[in-house]
């Protein structure tokens, strides 16, 4: 009997905390990671602190969505003008098994000269994706080319402030380039 009371009290307490959390301003998520850059050297979240970071999750085998999103990112950076130099655009690979640093190094300069590519072990990438709510996975439907697979993935751009806190999520489908630039400018 006493145990039921304990469970009920815990539930009420947790419910209360949950409600309070909804009413309070949600604290920004502090994002941490330790991955490998397209230059082959380690890159951690601390290395990128000091200016806003734009994190996009994609992969180099991606035929359409990633070029579309990286093109959007390039236009957002252009809209920022000289301030773009303070912003670090990053693509994190959701396909670390195929995306070696060398592959990222070949791929990214075509989209923006300052794009940093990050990859790592599948576990390292999954850990960072989990912090941001990024979802990805190998597509269930195969293409006709043996061994060639696609990855389904969310295609948002996450804005981290100079302290590495998640401050905005940009959906290119609903955010004009100028509006995205305006959001990033708040965190310069």
């Amino acid at each position: 009997m006493r145990r039921w009371w304990a469970i009920a009290a815990t539930a009420i307490l947790l419910g209360g905390i949950g409600t309070a959390a909804l009413l309070l301003r949600r604290p920004a998520v502090q994002v941490h990671f330790a991955l490998t850059g397209h230059h082959g050297r380690p890159v951690s979240s601390a290395d990128l602190a000091g200016g806003p970071v734009l994190l996009y999750f994609g992969y180099t085998f991606c035929p359409d969505v990633c070029p579309t999103e990286l093109g959007y990112l390039a236009r957002v950076l252009r809209a920022l003008g000289p301030a773009a130099a303070q912003v670090r655009p990053v693509m994190v690979s959701v396909d670390p098994e195929r995306d070696t640093p060398a592959k990222l190094a070949d791929y990214l300069p075509l989209y923006h000269e300052r794009l940093l590519g990050l990859t790592g072990t599948p576990e390292q990438v999954a850990e960072l994706a989990g912090q941001l709510g990024v979802r990805y996975g190998r597509a269930a439907v195969a293409t006709a080319k043996p061994g060639y697979y696609l990855i389904d993935h969310t295609a948002f751009t996450y804005v981290l402030d100079r302290h590495g806190r998640l401050v905005a999520t940009i959906d290119s489908h609903s955010t004009p380039v100028e509006a995205a630039a305006a959001e990033i400018r708040k965190h310069l």
């Binding site: 035929p63 359409d64 990286l70 093109g71 070949d106 923006h112 439907v141 293409t143 080319k145």
Partner: protein, 160 residues
């Protein structure tokens, strides 16, 4: 005596109307070693419904027709489709984030400014060779057509 020339447009009109027109086929430049590319275009329907049922390109191992769907969580899912319908008098718009011709296993890099030959197969209109204008890697729409040269194999389709 001169009835034939006047009759010609009448005789050929149904043929012309039934043909699908491929407007402004384009693709993005790809990175060195890239494995995949995508081709976009506007397919204008003729007098009858038609379907794009296949494509071939010497620059890729395999060419498939694909589409995208975005689920409630924002996950983009790309899927092969057997055909892309082109309604009579309407159009199928192949564009980024939607239906497209996918080049899988690129045999070479697609370079901005080049024109890539691509064969499209329609259920009714048959095979059409088009020249795909390659634009910037970051392009989100068809590049301006380069020159006015028409393709050797006829039926291509610079934007009007």
């Amino acid at each position: 005596m001169n009835a034939m020339p006047r009759l010609l447009p009448v005789l050929f009109a149904p043929v012309l109307l039934s043909a699908v027109e491929v407007e402004g086929p384009w693709a993005r430049a790809t990175a060195p070693g890239a494995q995949a590319g995508a081709v976009f275009a506007t397919l204008r329907g003729g007098a009858e419904d038609d379907r794009l049922v296949g494509a071939a390109c010497t620059a890729a191992d395999i060419v498939e027709l694909h589409t995208h769907a975005r689920d409630a969580d924002g996950v983009m899912r790309m899927r092969p489709v057997a055909a892309i319908p082109i309604p009579a008098g309407g159009a199928a718009v192949l564009r980024p984030g939607a239906e497209h011709v996918m080049l899988i296993g690129l045999r070479r890099t697609l370079v901005e400014g080049e024109r890539l030959p691509l064969e499209l197969t329609f259920a009714r209109a048959g095979r059409r060779e088009v020249l795909v204008q390659v634009g910037a890697a970051t392009a989100d729409a068809a590049p301006a057509p380069a020159g006015s040269a028409s393709p050797a194999a006829g039926g291509c389709c610079a934007p009007r």
